[in-house]
Amino acid sequence: MFLYLLSHYLKFFMTITVLAFGVAKDIFNAPSIQLELVNDATVMSLKYTLEQQYPRLKQLSSYLIAVNNEYALPEDYIHQRDEVAIIPPVSGG
């Protein structure tokens, strides 16, 4: 039973490392966090999960999500070992 659950778990969930830039570091209170997502989650579901855990993120209005150093669209899929980066706007000069 335990093994069944484990295999079930391994099959359906993945742990993604999310790197934080700019004010996202303050919001996460860390330079990176671990996030558990269902396998092949979309960027939109990642965003939803993040904003549930970190409501301040939503208040930014917009921030860039890059997957493997490419601009990610809401409908793009995220896979195990993908590198996700949250890059909020920066104002200073």
Partner: protein
């Protein structure tokens, strides 16, 4: 060319550069908007490299708090207009360059006329309002825009809005950030910035300008460079080859201003930590007021000593519009003071109590 060769031969010697690239630089005109932490190094290197015409736009004056990262200025320059000081110093560095200072604030009313004269625009501004204004104006005018921004130890650089030979343009700032809630993003005065980051990002901006004009190297068109001065990690994020935006008119993002509603103000006004400042005209003031000091909005910049650094300064006007402007002016000039705008202004105040 002999004279120029003596000054520029160490870059003319570069592979893929040559005299043709140097001539392109000398024929080019570049507008730098913002002569602060990013503008100073950008201007220093575009000047030394021999760009023909450099426009410098900054309405602000040098303040002591700028000096830790704005390397063109010293204590003797505090109080002077940045564009004027920068042009004077840069002229000594390279008298062959033509410098054009713009000492007024960039607004929707003047931005098109100013950028029309330049081949490339560089965004060295320090606030979202001007960034969006400049981005949208550059896109509408079809000008390439070299973007830079810094905060604490992190910076961003990109080259926006480059025309493809096949038509269409590369992404711009609104592809990355369609809109922003400025109140949620701390600026350098709040969160600090390491001066060397300003230098690195400003030099990277000048580098993008040189590459664009001389047509050498791989540009940051369609990409965003993110750099961390603490870990020295840098990454280039691919944005795409074509913009998905369709900017046809200036859509200046309203800067969110901290405000207070009358219910809360009435509670707090009992204590002595609140100072009211009326920013309406003399006429309006004479007709009716709710107390406090009187500094018409047009005179606020010259009367900033009226802002009490130890109190919450509540600016008010008729509708809340001018008082919001007053809060912006006070917060920019005195970042450590507390300034809020009376929401709805006296119009609403009267409605309820009148």
């Amino acid at each position: 060319m002999t004279n120029d060769w003596a000054r520029y031969h160490c870059q003319i010697a570069l592979p893929g550069f040559g005299e043709a690239a140097q001539q392109r630089l000398q024929q080019a005109s570049v507008l730098i908007v913002g002569m602060g932490g990013l503008g100073c190094p950008t201007a220093l290197y575009l000047t030394s490299a021999g760009v023909g015409t450099i426009g410098i736009a900054d309405f602000d004056t040098v303040s002591e708090g700028n000096l830790h990262r704005q390397v063109l200025y010293g204590p003797d320059d505090t109080g002077s207009n940045k564009a004027a000081v920068a042009c004077r110093k840069l002229r000594q560095q390279n008298p062959a360059v033509e410098f054009v200072p713009y000492e007024q604030r960039l607004t929707a009313a003047n931005v098109f006329d100013i950028i029309a004269k330049y081949d490339v625009v560089v965004d060295c501004t320090d606030n979202f309002e001007t960034r969006y204004l400049l981005n949208d104006a550059a896109v509408i005018s079809g000008k390439p825009l070299v973007y830079g921004a810094i905060y604490q130890f992190e910076g961003q650089v990109a080259l926006w809005n480059v025309a493809h030979q096949s038509g269409g343009r590369t992404p711009n700032y609104r592809d990355l950030y369609p809109k922003v809630n400025a109140a949620q993003i701390p600026n350098c005065t709040q969160g600090g910035v390491i001066p060397t980051l300003a230098g690195i990002i400003g030099c990277l901006q000048a580098n993008e300008v040189l590459k664009y004009i001389t047509q050498t190297g791989e540009s940051l068109a369609g990409k965003l460079l993110v750099f961390d001065a603490q870990t020295l990690q840098s990454r280039v994020v691919k944005i795409g080859t074509l913009t998905k935006t369709n900017i046809t008119t200036l859509l200046v993002a309203a800067e969110e201003v901290p405000d207070i509603d009358q219910t809360e103000l009435k509670k707090r006004i009992q204590g002595d930590d609140v100072q009211l400042i009326d920013v309406r005209t003399e006429e309006e003031r004479l007709a009716h007021h709710i107390g406090g000091k009187h500094v018409p909005l047009s005179e606020l910049e010259n009367n900033l000593h009226e802002v009490d650094p130890n109190k919450t300064n509540v600016f008010y006007c008729a509708s809340g519009k001018r008082s919001a402007e007053a809060v912006k002016i006070a917060s920019r000039a005195l970042p450590d003071s507390k300034a809020v705008s009376l929401k709805g202004g006296l119009n609403e105040w009267l409605d309820e109590n009148g």
